[in-house]
């Protein structure tokens, strides 16, 4: 631009009174809009909190009564148990499925793809209900040579307690999602890393365990924690297969004490918030530990 090249006098700044211009600080631009928006939000938030505290509809007294009742804690324990078991089994299954999908074996690749496609397509509640009615489809479950003699026989009706059905259903579902999370993490590690470790003569399994997996985890952890939080809340569906988890107990109590529906739902809300907060905390801690090499 030609104008910017003109002398200072031409745009109204003469040299002498502004000689100390070079030492001046810049005065920041004011943003009145931000202050107005802040005020509006603060007023709305205050109103909401005030309403929470004073509206008798919430019955905070009853909330305090129910919050740590043994019946609620029993439900909470079931939720924790199902979540923990399904998270571990789902992750193990997910790693196996991811490795199968990335393998050179076309059969393993196809089986893994079909599994993931199927379980991501069918709603979890449908999976749970099918499993719950499994005893009608298969009377016994036996372990042995395919089409040959069997070594163990389970009577399906005895084997399938509600807890087992719920855990299997959630794990099957979880594994399909975990597989994609793990696969994405593995693919996020550059090809150069694998080539460098191959060039050094590291065996394939060693390459995966020491070089690829630790780097993949940095991408896997945030995505899997997301998945885990979904699982914690997803366990509320096991109520439909007669397992009394946190939500199940809240539902049962609500039908016995219809007047306490709202405080009971708030109790469930509070506990789910606490659980997901703990998981987020763990995520923060794990991610900090995985950040080796990223510090500058």
């Amino acid at each position: 631009m030609s104008t910017s090249a003109e002398p200072a006098e031409a745009i109204g700044i003469s040299e002498s009174p502004h000689r100390d211009l070079a030492t001046q600080r810049v005065i920041p631009l004011r943003h009145p809009g931000r202050w107005i928006a802040t005020a509006v939000v603060v007023v709305l938030a205050a109103q909401f909190v005030h309403g929470l505290a004073t509206n008798p509809f919430y019955q905070w007294g009853r909330f305090g009564y129910w919050f740590a009742r043994p019946v609620i804690l029993r439900g909470l324990w079931v939720t924790l148990e199902v979540t923990a078991l399904s998270a571990v089994l789902g992750l193990v299954g997910g790693v196996v499925l991811a490795l199968a999908r990335l393998s050179h074996n076309p059969v393993l690749r196809t089986v893994s793809w079909v599994y993931i496609w199927l379980f991501r397509s069918v709603p979890l509640i449908v999976v749970l209900l099918i499993l719950f009615n499994f005893s009608a489809l298969y009377r016994t479950l036996s372990l042995g040579v395919p089409f040959g003699p069997s070594f163990f026989r389970f009577d399906e009706n005895k084997l399938a307690t509600e807890l087992v059905v719920a855990t299997i259903g959630l794990s099957l579902n979880e594994a399909a999602y975990a597989a994609e999370v793990v696969r994405g993490g593995i693919l996020s590690v550059g090809r150069g890393q694998r080539e460098a470790s191959a060039a050094l003569g590291l065996p394939r399994w060693y390459q995966f365990r020491r070089i690829v997996l630790p780097q993949a985890l940095r991408a896997i952890v945030p995505a899997y924690v997301n998945q885990l939080i979904g699982l914690i809340k997803g366990t509320s569906l096991v109520f439909y297969v007669s397992l009394l988890d946190l939500f199940g107990q809240v539902q049962t109590m609500s039908s016995t004490y219809p007047g306490d529906v709202v405080p009971l739902l708030l109790v469930a809300t509070a506990w789910y918030v606490i659980l997901t907060s703990l998981v987020s905390l763990a995520q923060y801690w794990i991610e900090r530990r995985l950040r080796a090499g990223e510090r500058r």
Partner: protein, 266 residues
């Protein structure tokens, strides 16, 4: 010599450390290597030159079997890489055997490819301990020596990201040397570096050449090639169009394509 090669014609003469014969490789319908023959003597330095896409890197990567040739073979130290010659045919080797062969050949990449989650020291001791069974204290001591050799002693606990590109590449060279290879491969080792960092990496490679390390180097640094190479090879379109002493290949190229390329990069 169970891993011996079909042709044993050059009996009596000193067998070259690397022999490439009739090497062909295509990616899809694109022929990258179209019948390459090359010998590299033990203790010598060979530079591969040529325009991009001429097959230099692919040839280099066939030497440690990061690429599988479609036809022909590469022999390193009297053993065919990736295959076994038996009953007049080439049989693919199991992964374990290929892994063993690779321990004799070190490689340095354009993008360094250090392991970012491991410290400099861990990068250096990982493979000797895991693959060659070197006791940890010995590997650590050896790593210190190698880092001193590339001018980076004292940076053992640094992570790769904390180092400049030139320093990272020198660590990568030390990492390759830690396996005590008989042959080192360099794939454009200075192409990803800022101009003022090129010299420090070339200096390390020059020292290795003086020390008698056998090396194959893909590079665009013509001056450096003239200085260190015992043999210069010019590739174009997947074939070797010119090879011989660097002075002949670089200063008096007979091939038209080589002449055009060299006058453009010089």
């Amino acid at each position: 010599m169970t891993g011996g090669t079909p042709q044993a014609g050059d009996a009596g003469a000193v067998r070259p450390l690397v022999r490439v014969r009739g090497l062909k490789k295509s990616f899809g319908s694109h022929r990258v290597l179209d019948g390459v023959d090359l010998d590299v003597a033990e203790g010598s330095v060979t530079v591969l030159l040529g325009p991009s896409g001429s097959g230099k890197s692919t040839l280099l990567r066939c030497v440690n079997h990061l690429e599988r040739p479609d036809a022909g073979f590469v022999e390193v130290a009297g053993e065919i890489v990736g295959y076994r010659y038996r009953d007049g045919r080439l049989h693919e080797l199991p992964g374990r055997e290929i892994t063993r062969q690779r321990t004799q050949v070190g490689m340095v990449f354009q993008q360094f490819n250090l392991f970012p989650h491991l410290t400099v020291l861990e990068n250096l001791v990982e493979a000797p301990v895991a693959v060659r069974g070197v006791p940890k204290p010995d590997a650590v001591a050896k790593a210190g020596e190698l880092l001193a050799r590339v001018g980076l002693d004292g940076r053992q606990s640094a992570y790769p990201r904390e180092l400049s590109g030139g320093q990272q590449q020198r660590v990568a060279i030390a990492r390759a040397l830690a396996m005590e290879p008989r042959l080192l491969l360099f794939d454009e080792p200075t192409s990803a570096l800022d101009p003022e960092l090129v010299g420090e990496v070339l200096g390390v490679i020059r020292d290795l050449a003086v020390g008698g390390m056998s090396m194959i180097i893909v590079t665009h640094e013509i001056g450096f090639a003239r200085e260190v190479a015992d043999q210069a090879v010019f590739l174009d379109g997947g074939r070797i169009v010119e090879s011989g002493a660097p002075a002949d290949v670089l200063d008096r190229p007979g091939n038209e394509r080589a002449r055009a390329f060299l006058s453009a990069v010089l």
